[in-house]
Structures are given as structure tokens and as C-alpha cells.
């Protein structure tokens, strides 16, 4: 079973899956927060494109709504919000560099192989596209976590968290053709609220410890290092 035998729709889904994985990698390698948020916006837009494609080809009209929601929230609103936060907190010149970029990238590549390996038995009896979509979405989730582990800036953590949500959403769209509308709306609202709450938190954190570097948070610990 190779890609040649698939329909054009499925090929396009796979292509988008590949691009979404690429954006996750790009986020892993970005050291500037502004660009990180831009890549995140691109991921949101790719996700919206996937949803819209599924809606058109499979004729699920409710997917149009979630595509629009995606585009609006993850592609435009949240990135703009984060962008403004970064500027107001004067973080746009701060370099949040990774300690060992080569190792992190290699780790990322290994995670992709790992998620493929893990998802192989899970979807033993399903279609090729589903398998691949689940592998990619698992990879996106794991890469999002890796992003959160390797970064110090709280903003980067928020982006990582949201990209995990993107990964889950992608799996939902491709393998089960979206979630029920109520769940979807709820999740979208949650994400938006999360972004706002995070924003408030940032100001609080900075007001109390004068930095958004999460390594400093360990100072709150009672135990002396």
C-alpha cells in the first residue's frame, strides 16, 4: 500500500500532516518568541485548512464551522493576543535559546519515529491515512511537550500547550471527522479563556518575581537548593 494508490484527498491530508509536523519542528528550533508565535499561527492555519478540506470532500458542513473557529482563534486571535503580550512585557528582544539545539532536534526526530512505532499496533485494523494521522498527531503532542520542557519563557510554555491541543484536534478531524459541535465549541472557548488567563498570570508572575523565566519559579520552593 503506497501513496500512489490513495485518492488525491488523502494525499492532501498526508501532505498537510507533514507540514503540521514541520511547524512543530520549527517551533522547537525558534529562539525568538515573536517568530515562535508566528509559526504557531501558521500551524493553526494549516489545521484550519485541513478541517476545511475534510468538510469539502466529506461533505460534513459542521466541519466548516470548526474550520472557521480554528482559523479565527488559533490562526489570528490567540497569536495576536500573545504578540501583544510579548510586546507589552518587552520580551520581543529576549532570546529564549535552547541549550543543545542539535540534541533537541535529534530527540524530536526520534520522537516522531517513536510515535509512529507506538501507534502501529493501536490502529492495526484501520486505514493507512488514519494510522499516519494518529502517528503525526501523537508526534505533534510529544513535540509540544518537548518544547515546554526545553524552554524557560512562560510564553513559550503557553505556545507548547496550545500546540498539544492542535495535535489532538488534528487526530480528531482526520480519524473521526471532528468531535460533536458542543465539545468543539467548548474546547475552543476553553482555549481562548486559557489564553486570557495565561495573559493575566504573566503579569502577576512578573509583578511578583520580575521575570517570566520559569527557572526562577523554583525560588518559591521552601527547600534550599
Amino acid at each position: 500500500m503506497s501513496i500512489i494508490e490513495l485518492s488525491l484527498y488523502q494525499q492532501a491530508i498526508l501532505l498537510l500532516a507533514g507540514l503540521i509536523a514541520l511547524t512543530s519542528f520549527l517551533m522547537l528550533g525558534q529562539s525568538r518568541l515573536v517568530r515562535l508565535v508566528k509559526v504557531f499561527a501558521a500551524q493553526g492555519m494549516l489545521l484550519a485548512a485541513t478541517t476545511a478540506l475534510a468538510a469539502t470532500v466529506l461533505e460534513y458542513p459542521h466541519l466548516y464551522v470548526s474550520a472557521a473557529l480554528n482559523l479565527l482563534l488559533k490562526g489570528i486571535v490567540i497569536p495576536l493576543l500573545l504578540q501583544r503580550l510579548i510586546h507589552r512585557l518587552e520580551l520581543h528582544r529576549v532570546m529564549d535559546t535552547v541549550d543543545h539545539p542539535a540534541r533537541v532536534m535529534m530527540g524530536g526526530a526520534a520522537l516522531v519515529v517513536f510515535s509512529y512505532y507506538v501507534s502501529l499496533p493501536v490502529v492495526e485494523n484501520s486505514h493507512l491515512v488514519t494510522l499516519n494521522a494518529i502517528a503525526v498527531s501523537l508526534a505533534v503532542v510529544l513535540l509540544g511537550m518537548l518544547l515546554m520542557i526545553t524552554r524557560r519563557q512562560a510564553v513559550a510554555h503557553v505556545v507548547g500547550f496550545m500546540s498539544i491541543e492542535n495535535g489532538l484536534f488534528f487526530a480528531a478531524v482526520v480519524s473521526t471527522y471532528g468531535m460533536p459541535m458542543v465539545v468543539e465549541l467548548g474546547v475552543a472557548f476553553d482555549v481562548l479563556v486559557a489564553a486570557v488567563v495565561f495573559g493575566v498570570f504573566f503579569f502577576q508572575i512578573r509583578a511578583s518575581i520580575d521575570s517570566l523565566n520559569v527557572d526562577r519559579l523554583s525560588k518559591l520552593s521552601e527547600v534550599e537548593p
Binding site: 543543545h100 519515529v113 512505532y117
Partner: protein
């Protein structure tokens, strides 16, 4: 016939060891009869006077040359025996009534050992041509020359005997002969403490490796019920025991072959030996370890698991890329070459790992291709690495310099050596149409067939390994371009290099010339040899590559004609044709003779040798990019003067690249051993009554046990 020739070659090597002291003594006796009452063989350090050569020129010449003639004959017969064994494909065995009373020595020459006889033979001939001129340097040195010839003979004989051995006992004796012989060669110039340290490290590692090999044989012998290889082949091992034996063998042979992280002895030991010995050690001895590994895994164990393949692949890739990265940062030419041997052995093991993976998956065809690539690269590396070490020896002989930072412009001073060295450089850099490229191309072709495997993880691992290999190949080109550019091109960076002259002996040119010719020949016409290698793979994997020259003898088609093809002879022809045509059209037709002038240099002018890029400067970007890999010490020394020391008079940049294997592996291991020894040392109280107590308790326990 072939076995007889091989034995003859072995005897000649042993004879060359014995003839040296005899000739040396004869020279001594002659000179005693003549003027000075000294016995050459018992010369203390420093007592060799400057007039010695005049005393007995003919005999000392004979004492110098005779062992090399015998070694050359040994190499020639060895190569001949190898070719006969390869062409005939027959296996000949013999039993020699030596050794233990119940286990006489078994000898066997099959196509695999025949091939490795060729790997020994060709460089050995070249070294024997090179040697007589080169060792003149040591004639007036502090150590008698016969010592060198004596141990060289044993070293070579040991290597040949390893190939002939057909039982584990003889194999280990030969292995030790090879190790100990080369230990004395490394320690030859033992007046420097660094050399003594390197030699000790070498011996230590060689013995640890030997213990691992013995244990590996022990596991097989335990199941096989005998020490002959025939008995070992018959051993029925469970996968667990087979894996234990495999890991032990990989450790033992890998230590000798210089695989990362067990490689640390190699860049210490190889450069301090005399250059022609370094050529044999780096070019040939490492291949004997490869032989041992192939013999043990593919022949004796004869079962394949993909986990083994992955292990070998990972270790091989790490050796390849780390070896070349460290080589790139060396300023000592011979040390650089030694690190590059680590890289090349890594490439051989990558091919072997691929072969194991494919064989374990039932892809015999591709497994065979990987094995062929490994064998071919072993031979190729033996040729070009010997060539480069001999070239380094020529520079050392003429200019007494092995630091790249002091070389430069040697192409004007030593044009012929420079030409041969260039061929070696191009071969090792893996450029078409020379031989290094062919074997690397075969490794890539093997790796690219990973798509046929079922396991997705293996399918993604193998291309990643081949990407590492691609990085290695590119870095190797950078490394050897640096070597050639810094050593042979540009302006001389020191006085003695500026006054070096071409080597005076014809043999010192003939040796490298022979190897360079082999490099070109095997690069341009690899198909006959690869066809012959089918005889080697037939007994090991039960398969012969079928379509190797499906398009004709000019074309190499390892898998199938439509998958990949390469015609090196046509490539060479094309380059020569286009080059000549453009030369003809552009030069002959216009007739405009070029004019000699000062270099332009963007109009700066006043060129001196100090303005050139040095070796350290050339590799600086790579050093920065791969900084985490190296243990690096850098310092900048600023000399200032003037009021308040504001004017900078001079800046001096020092850097030292240390092998990360030391702090990570060796020093902790050393500390652990010391701590254990100290702990055990507590037994040694020094009190006589305590020792009596030990004896008493031992006696009591023994009595209790036997009762």
C-alpha cells in the same frame, strides 16, 4: 599450493626477524675485526658513533636491507597465495605438529583469509620498498636498527598467522604475537616519556581486548566441545549465549580496530611508531581485527540478529563521524591520519552492520552487498592509508617535521612525493574516480535499499545512519583538503621545510607509487575485484552478487542496472577528454603564454608565510559548529606595551582539542580500578602475623571443603 605459499610467506617474515640480529651481529663482529671493539647488537644508547657507517658500509647496508627484502618476498608470496585462494575458491587445510600435546596447530586458507592476505601483501611490499631508505634515519639513532627489524618481522608473522589459524588456540597465540610485536615497535623510540606512555596504553588495551576475544571463544568452545574452528562452527547456541559471545567479540575486535569509544589508544600509539610501521599498523593491523570480527560473526557464529546489526551500525556511525571530527582538529599529521583510521574503520563497521541487519531480515542479496562493501573498503583503506603514512614518513625523513603548522609549499620541494600524496588524498576524501569513492558508494547503495525492510524503525534508522555517513564523507574531504593545502601548497611556514628536498632513495618513491597505482586501478576498474569477492561471500552468506557487471565489465551495477550504475573508467575518460579538449582549445589555439607576477591579494601586497591560513585556522569554523563534541582548551595571550599597557603588540591564540572519551570513559575506569586496587590492598597489612593468619584460614577452609 596456496597454503604452501602462505606458509612460505609466514616463514619469510619470521626469517626476516631472525636475519636482522644476525646481520647486526655480523656487522658488529666485522667492525670488531676492523677498528672499534663494539658489538653492534649490544650497543648501549648513544654509543653508536658517527663514524660507524664508514666502518662497515656494505654490511650495515646489508643488515638494513636484508630484512626488507625478505619482508617484500613475504608480502609478494602472501598476496600471491591470497589471489590463488581467491580465484580458486578452494579451501586448503593442514595440521602442524606444534603447540599443545593434545591440540596440534590447525591451519586453513580459504577465500576470506586469502582476501586478507592480499590486504596484508600489497602494503607490505610497498613498505618494504620504502623501508630501506627510511630506516637510515635510525641508523645513527640511540637504538640499534636490528631491534626494529626483529620486531617488525614478528609483527608481520603474527598478522599472517592470525589469518592462517584454524583453531582458537593458535589464533590467540598469533594475536598476541601481533600485539606484542607491535608494542615493541610503538615503544621503539622510548626515550620520550610520551611514547612509553602510549606504548603502555596500547599494550593494556590490546590485552583487555584479547581477554574479551578469549572469553568469546570460550563461550563458543563451551558449547562446541573443542577449540578447532570446525568444532566452534558446530556449537549450537541459544540466542542469549550467541549474543553474549557476539558482544564479547565486538568488544575485543572493536578495541583492536579502534572503534569509538575504545579508540583512545589508537591516536596515541600509531603516530609514535616509525612511519613505515605506522603504515602497517593503521593500514593493515586494523584490518586483521576486521577479519577477526568477520570470521567470528559471519563464519563461526553464523547466526544473525537485527539487534546486533543495529549495535554495530550505531557504533560504526559514531566512530566514523567522531573519528573524522577529531582528525580535522589535529595539527600533528600522523595523529590526524590515525584519527582518520578510526573514521574508516567506522565506515567498514557501518557496512558490516547493514549487512547483519539485512541478513537477519532474510535479504541475503543486500547482506552480501554490505559485506562486499566492507571488504572492499578494508582493502582500499589499507592502500591509501599506507600511502599517506609513507608520505608523512617522507616529510619526516626530509624535514623532521610532523606538525602541519610548520609545513607549507612542499609541492615545490618534493614534487614526486607530493604527486603520490595527492592521489592518496583524493582517494581517502572519497572522490570519483578513485578507489575510496567506490566502496563508499557501495555502502550508500546498500543503505538505500532499506526500503525493502518490513520494520519501520529499521527503515528510518538506516537512512539516518547513511546521513551520518554523508556528513562523514564531506568532513573527510574537508580534512584532507586541509592536509594537502596546508602541508604541500602555499608558502613554507618554517626554515627546515623551506629547505627540504625530494627523498633520495628510489625505493621511497617506488613504495608510494605502487600504492598510488593500486588506488587508481581499483578506483577505475573495480568490477573484476568485486567479482572475485563473490568467492568470499559464497561460504559466508551463501550468496554471490549476480548482476555486478550486468551492463558489461566497465559498469558497476551492485543491485540492478536500473537501480544504480557507475562506470568509473568512463568517468576518468570523460574528465581527461574534457580537460584535454578545453586545454587544447584555450591554450594551444591562442598560444598566449601565462605571465609570472606577484600575487594580487586584493592589492594588499607584501605576502609572507605568516599571513596564510594555518591548519588550526582552516578548521576553525568546523570547530565552532561542532563545539559540544570536543573537549577544548582555548586561550588568547595578549602582549601589550606602551603607557598603561594600551598598545597591543602581539596576540597569540592557543587551542588544544582533547578527546572526550578520556573524561567520560577512561578516567572513571582508571579511578575505579585504582579504588578497587586500594581496597584489595588493605589485605596487605605488612604484618607477618596477618599473612600467617591468611594461610591458616585458607588451609582450614580447604580442608573443610575436601572433607
Amino acid at each position: 599450493m596456496s597454503l604452501f605459499l602462505a606458509n612460505l610467506s609466514l616463514l619469510l617474515a619470521l626469517f626476516s626477524a631472525l636475519v636482522a640480529p644476525i646481520a647486526g651481529c655480523a656487522g658488529g663482529i666485522w667492525s670488531r675485526l676492523g677498528r672499534t671493539p663494539v658489538l653492534l647488537g649490544r650497543l648501549g644508547p648513544g654509543s653508536a658513533g658517527p663514524g660507524e657507517e664508514r666502518r662497515s658500509p656494505r654490511i650495515s647496508r646489508l643488515a638494513r636491507i636484508a630484512p626488507f627484502i625478505l619482508l617484500a618476498l613475504s608480502g609478494g608470496f602472501g598476496a600471491l597465495a591470497g589471489i590463488i585462494a581467491l580465484r580458486g575458491g578452494a579451501t586448503s587445510t593442514a595440521t602442524v605438529a606444534l603447540g599443545l600435546p593434545w591440540l596440534s596447530w590447525h591451519e586453513r586458507l580459504d577465500s576470506l583469509s586469502g582476501f586478507f592476505f592480499c590486504v596484508i601483501g600489497l602494503p607490505l611490499i610497498a613498505v618494504s620498498l620504502f623501508g630501506p631508505g627510511y630506516v637510515r634515519e635510525f641508523e645513527h639513532g640511540r637504538h640499534p636498527l636490528w631491534v626494529l627489524s626483529f620486531f617488525t618481522g614478528f609483527f608481520v608473522a603474527g598478522m599472517e598467522l592470525v589469518l592462517l589459524a584454524d583453531d582458537a588456540f593458535l589464533f590467540m597465540i598469533a594475536w598476541e604475537l601481533m600485539s606484542v610485536g607491535s608494542y615493541f615497535l610503538v615503544a621503539f623510540q622510548h626515550e620520550h616519556s610520551a611514547n612509553r606512555r602510549a606504548a603502555f596504553l596500547y599494550l593494556l588495551m590490546a590485552e583487555i581486548g584479547a581477554i574479551a576475544v578469549i572469553l568469546a571463544f570460550g563461550v563458543l568452545a563451551g558449547f562446541g566441545g573443542g577449540l578447532t574452528f570446525a568444532a566452534l562452527r558446530g556449537a549450537a547456541l541459544s540466542p542469549l549465549w550467541a549474543s553474549i559471545a557476539f558482544v564479547l567479540a565486538l568488544t575485543g575486535f572493536g578495541m583492536k580496530a579502534g572503534l569509538v569509544p575504545l579508540h583512545a589508544w589508537l591516536p596515541e600509539a600509531h603516530p609514535v611508531a616509525p612511519s613505515h610501521i605506522s603504515a602497517l599498523m593503521s593500514g593493515v593491523m586494523l584490518k586483521i581485527a576486521v577479519y577477526g570480527f568477520i570470521r567470528f560473526t559471519f563464519d563461526l557464529l553464523h547466526q544473525f540478529h537485527w539487534q546486533w546489526g543495529v549495535l554495530v551500525l550505531v557504533i560504526g556511525s559514531a566512530s566514523a563521524v567522531l573519528g573524522i571530527l577529531y582528525a580535522l582538529q589535529q595539527q600533528d599529521l600522523k595523529r590526524l591520519l590515525a584519527y582518520s583510521s578510526v573514521e574508516n574503520v567506522g565506515i567498514v563497521f557501518v557496512a558490516l552492520g547493514l549487512s547483519l541487519i539485512f541478513l537477519s531480515n532474510g535479504k541475503t542479496h543486500l547482506g552480501t552487498l554490505g559485506l562486499v562493501a566492507a571488504l572492499l573498503h578494508s582493502l582500499n583503506h589499507a592502500l591509501f592509508k599506507s600511502l599517506l603514512f609513507l608520505g608523512a614518513g617522507s616529510i619526516l625523513y626530509r624535514a623532521h617535521e610532523q606538525s602541519l603548522e610548520h609545513m607549507g609549499g612542499l609541492i615545490h620541494r618534493m614534487p614526486k612525493t607530493a604527486a603520490f600524496f595527492l592521489l592518496g588524498t583524493l582517494s581517502i576524501a572519497g572522490l570519483p574516480p578513485l578507489n575510496g569513492f567506490v566502496s563508499e558508494w557501495l555502502v550508500f547503495q546498500t543503505a538505500l535499499q532499506a526500503g525493502t525492510l518490513d520494520s519501520g524503525v529499521l527503515r528510518s534508522l538506516i537512512p539516518t545512519a547513511s546521513a551520518v555517513l554523508a556528513l562523514t564523507a564531506a568532513l573527510a574531504a574537508t580534512c584532507f583538503v586541509k592536509v594537502y593545502g596546508v602541508a604541500f601548497l602555499g608558502l613554507p611556514r618554517s626554515h627546515h621545510i623551506a629547505h627540504a628536498r625530494e627523498v633520495p632513495h628510489r625505493g621511497m618513491l617506488a613504495g608510494p607509487a605502487l600504492l598510488a597505482a593500486c588506488c587508481v586501478l581499483l578506483g577505475v576498474l573495480p568490477t573484476p575485484l568485486i567479482d572475485l569477492l563473490g568467492r568470499v561471500t559464497q561460504p559466508l552468506t551463501g550468496f554471490v552478487l549476480p548482476d555486478i557487471s550486468a551492463l558489461g565489465w566497465l559498469w558497476l551495477t551492485p543491485v540492478a542496472p536500473e537501480v544504480a550504475s557507475y562506470a568509473p573508467a568512463l568517468v576518468l575518460f570523460g574528465i581527461l577528454a574534457v580537460g584535454w579538449l578545453s586545454y587544447y582549445l584555450l591554450y594551444r589555439r591562442t598560444g598566449l603564454e601565462p605571465r609570472r607576477a606577484e600575487p594580487w591579494d586584493c592589492g594588499f601586497g607584501g605576502l609572507t608565510a605568516r599571513m596564510q591560513y594555518t591548519s588550526g585556522a582552516f578548521s576553525m569554523p568546523i570547530r565552532r559548529i561542532f563545539e559540544p563534541v570536543f573537549g577544548m582548551h582555548e586561550s588568547i595571550e595578549v602582549t601589550t606595551d606602551g603607557p598603561a599597557a594600551t598598545r597591543v603588540r602581539a596576540l597569540r591564540y592557543h587551542f588544544q582539542v582533547l578527546d572526550r572519551a578520556w573524561p567520560i570513559l577512561y578516567e572513571p575506569a582508571g579511578h575505579t580500578v585504582t579504588r578497587l586496587a586500594r581496597w584489595v590492598g588493605r589485605l596487605q597489612t605488612g604484618n607477618i602475623r596477618t599473612y600467617l593468619g591468611y594461610s591458616f584460614f585458607t588451609l582450614v577452609v580447604l580442608l573443610w571443603m575436601i572433607s
